[in-house]
Symmetry: C2
Subunit: 148 residues, 2 copies
């Protein structure tokens, strides 16, 4: 494969990723969750299962813990998360989603499903499913980093 083809593939991937991010963000806002930015989505994803500490979150997002703490401040202020004392470590605080936070997470899933359904209209559901499996196999581990 020539370099220029690899670049075209990369550009298409990044364009799809950018468009998807925008679609999800707009979909979430359209469902009544104001003041939400794409960066919050990745925080939600990390907090959803059982909550997480600020330091965990920072590592997951690939930013400093100060930045993660500010993000949590904002999510708390907007009613999506709350800080609780950590059950096993008095230094730490466990950040967990509120009911509104869970609702916002579901809204994001709905918006994502909407976008993915449109891909299905173009490619067929079978190909979309295959696409998902392939992407999972080449997805890097480590912190989630902004695409640019």
């Amino acid at each position: 494969m020539q370099n220029s083809e690899a670049m075209a593939l990369s550009a298409a991937l990044l364009a799809v990723a950018g468009g998807l991010t925008q679609r999800i963000n707009e979909g979430v806002i359209a469902r009544g969750f104001e003041g939400v930015r794409p960066a919050h989505g990745f925080a939600f994803a990390r907090l959803a299962p059982d909550g997480a500490t600020v330091t965990d979150l920072a590592a997951h997002l690939g930013v400093t813990k100060q930045a993660a703490s500010q993000l949590v401040d904002e999510m708390v202020r907007k009613g999506y998360a709350e800080r609780r004392p950590h059950p096993e470590d008095a230094r730490a605080r466990l950040v967990v989603l509120t009911g509104r936070g869970w609702a916002c997470t579901r809204a994001a899933e709905e918006a994502a499903a909407e976008a993915v359904r449109e891909w299905g209209d173009v490619l067929g559901e079978r190909e979309v499913r295959a696409l998902g499996e392939q992407l999972l196999r080449i997805a890097p581990r480590g912190p989630i980093r902004p695409a640019w």
Copy 2:
């Protein structure tokens, strides 16, 4: 397809996109082009064929023309681009890549090819090619937007 599956697909796509961006950026820097940020890559892509005006660039990147102008300032300062008088419009200036700018573009293509080759090791070249075609078919038009 369930919403949670669509979300998993989306997360994988964004993770791949973020990792790819980082790989390309690091690859470009490793090839001796310092002070280059991912955002520059999309500017290079727009400038490469025949140059572009600041306003074109702004529309392509989805930012204000002031922001695009600052980006061009930076690229000029670092030797990647230069401003020329526009041949057909005395108001406008045509921003074109310098030799160093072209070299940097080729370095980005090499870095992208490197990353894509690793995908080929995992998925097989046939699937990677199919992936590229599918992504092209679902890629949105309009300005390139950061993935988050």
